[in-house]
Amino acid sequence: MNTALHLAEPYRLLLFLVGTLAFVGFNAAYLVWLERKGAGRFQRRAGPTEVGYAGLLQPVADAIKLLSKQLIVPPGTDATLFRLAPMLVMAPALMCFVAMPFSDALAARPLNLGLVMVFAFGSIHVLAIMLGGWASRNKFAIISAARVVSQNVAYEIPMLLVVITLLMITGTTDLNEIVRQQGGGFWHWNILRLTANPLMPVTFVVFYICMLAETNRAPFDMAEAESELVAGAFTEYGGMGFGLFFMGEYANIVIGCSLATVLFFGGWQSPIGVWPGLFWFLLKLYLLIFSVIWVRWTFPRTQFYGLLNLSWKILIPLSLFVLVLSSVLLKFL
C-alpha cells in the first residue's frame, strides 16, 4: 500500500475533490480537442490547427467563447428546471469518480459498494437531459427528452445484466478488489477469463454497446440527432449551459471507459504482470476513449426503433444467456 496518500481525512477529501474536478475538467476540455483532431484524421484533414501548437489551445478559446455568451432562458420555460438541468448533468458525473480506483492507492474513497454507486450516479444524467428537454419548451427538445428516457431504460437492463454476470465471477462490488483479482498479466483480465465464462468477450461487447447508448454517443445519439432534432434536448441552450451538457457528455464517456477498464481490462494492472500503476489505467482508458471516437466517426446513426430492437431483441436475450451460462458454470465447475 502506498503510504504517501494516507493523509488526514479532511485533507485527503479536499485533495481528491480538487483532483477529480481537475481531472474531469481537463478531460472534458481536451477530449473535445481529441475528438476534433481524431475526426480530422479519420476524415483525412487536420482538425484544429490555428489556436496554439496543433490547436492545443482550442479548448481554452472555446471555453472563453462559451463563458462570454449570455445565458438565455427562453420565455415560457420553467426557469428553475431549465437552469438546474446542466448542473444536474455535471455533478453526478463528478460523484462517480469517488469510487474509481486510478491505481492501487489512488482512489478518493474506496467503497465496497463502489460499482453500485457508480451505476446509481451514472444514471442521473439521463434525468438531467430529460429535464433539460422538457424545460426547454421546444418541440424538438421534448421529442428528444422522450427518446432519451426510453433509450436509457432499454439499455440500463442489458448493461446491468452483464455487470451481474461479472459480479458473480468476481464476487465483490469493490472496484479496487475487482482490479486486484485481475493482476498478473493480461490473460487474467476479466475479458479473457474464458474458464469462468467462455462468452466473456461477448459480454464486453454488450457492455461497450450499452455504454455508447447510455452516454448518448454516436451511433446512438438519439438525444442530439442534429439532422433530425436540430440539437435535441440542447436546442434552447446557449453559452455555458450548452457547454455543461457538452462537458457532461465527455465526463460520462470517461466514466464509462474507466468502468470498462476496471471491469474488463484489469484497471491499473499491467498487461505483462510487472509495474502496475496509474500509467496503465490511463493508457487503457484513453485507448477505449479513442475507440469511442473512432466508432462515432465511422457509422451513421441508428434509427430509434432499430436502437430499441437491438436492446430488447438482441442484447437483453444475449446478456440473459450469458448470465445463465455463467451461473451454470459457477454452480457445476
Binding site: 481524431g38 480530422g40 484524421r41 479519420f42 476524415q43 483525412r44 484533414r45 487536420a46 490547427t49 461487447v205 473512432w294 466508432v295 466517426w297 465511422t298 457509422f299 438482441i314
Partner: protein
C-alpha cells in the same frame, strides 16, 4: 430461425468491423486538405476571376476601342464603357471602363465578344473589403494605367 437471426447478427457485426477497419486505414493516411491561407493551390490558366483590361505591352495602355460590345453582351449590365476618338488615332479609345463585380456572374460573354481581345480574366480570388464601392465600381482603365495587369 434462431440460427438465421444469429447469423444475421454476426454478419451485421462483421460489417461494422469492416467499416472501422476502413476508417482506421484512412486515419493513418496523410491529410488531403490545403491549409489556406498558409498554403494555396496554383490557379489554372483558364480561371475566371473578374475581368480586366489587357495591357498593351508596347504602349502600356488598354487595347479597348470602346465599341461597347461587351456592355451589350453582358447579361447583368455590369459593364459601363465610355470612349472618344482622339486626335490622330485611327480608332476610338476608352475613357472609362467600370465593372460592377457584385452583379457579374463570370459567364465570360464580354471576353468572348470583344473584337480586339482587350478583355481577359484576372486570377484574383481573395476579394474582401469594407467598402462596397470597391467592388461595385472597379475602374479597370485606372488599373491598366497603374500598370497592373
Amino acid at each position: 430461425m434462431i440460427n438465421g437471426s444469429l447469423r444475421e447478427v454476426v454478419a451485421g457485426f462483421g460489417s461494422l468491423l469492416t467499416g472501422m477497419r476502413i476508417t482506421l486505414r484512412e486515419f493513418f493516411k496523410p491529410s488531403v486538405t490545403v491549409h489556406y491561407p498558409h498554403e494555396t493551390l496554383p490557379i489554372p490558366g483558364r480561371y475566371r476571376g473578374h475581368v480586366i483590361l489587357v495591357r498593351d505591352a508596347e504602349t502600356g495602355k488598354s487595347l479597348c476601342i470602346a465599341c461597347k460590345s461587351c456592355e451589350k453582351a453582358c447579361p447583368s449590365d455590369c459593364i459601363v464603357v465610355e470612349g472618344i476618338k482622339r486626335e490622330g488615332e485611327k480608332r476610338k479609345s476608352a475613357t472609362a471602363f467600370q465593372l460592377d463585380f457584385t452583379r457579374c456572374s463570370l459567364c465570360g460573354s464580354c471576353v468572348e465578344v470583344c473584337p480586339v481581345d482587350a478583355l481577359e480574366f484576372s486570377k484574383e480570388y481573395n476579394l474582401a473589403g469594407t467598402d462596397k464601392t470597391r467592388y461595385t465600381q472597379i475602374d479597370l482603365l485606372k488599373r491598366v494605367e497603374a500598370g497592373k495587369s
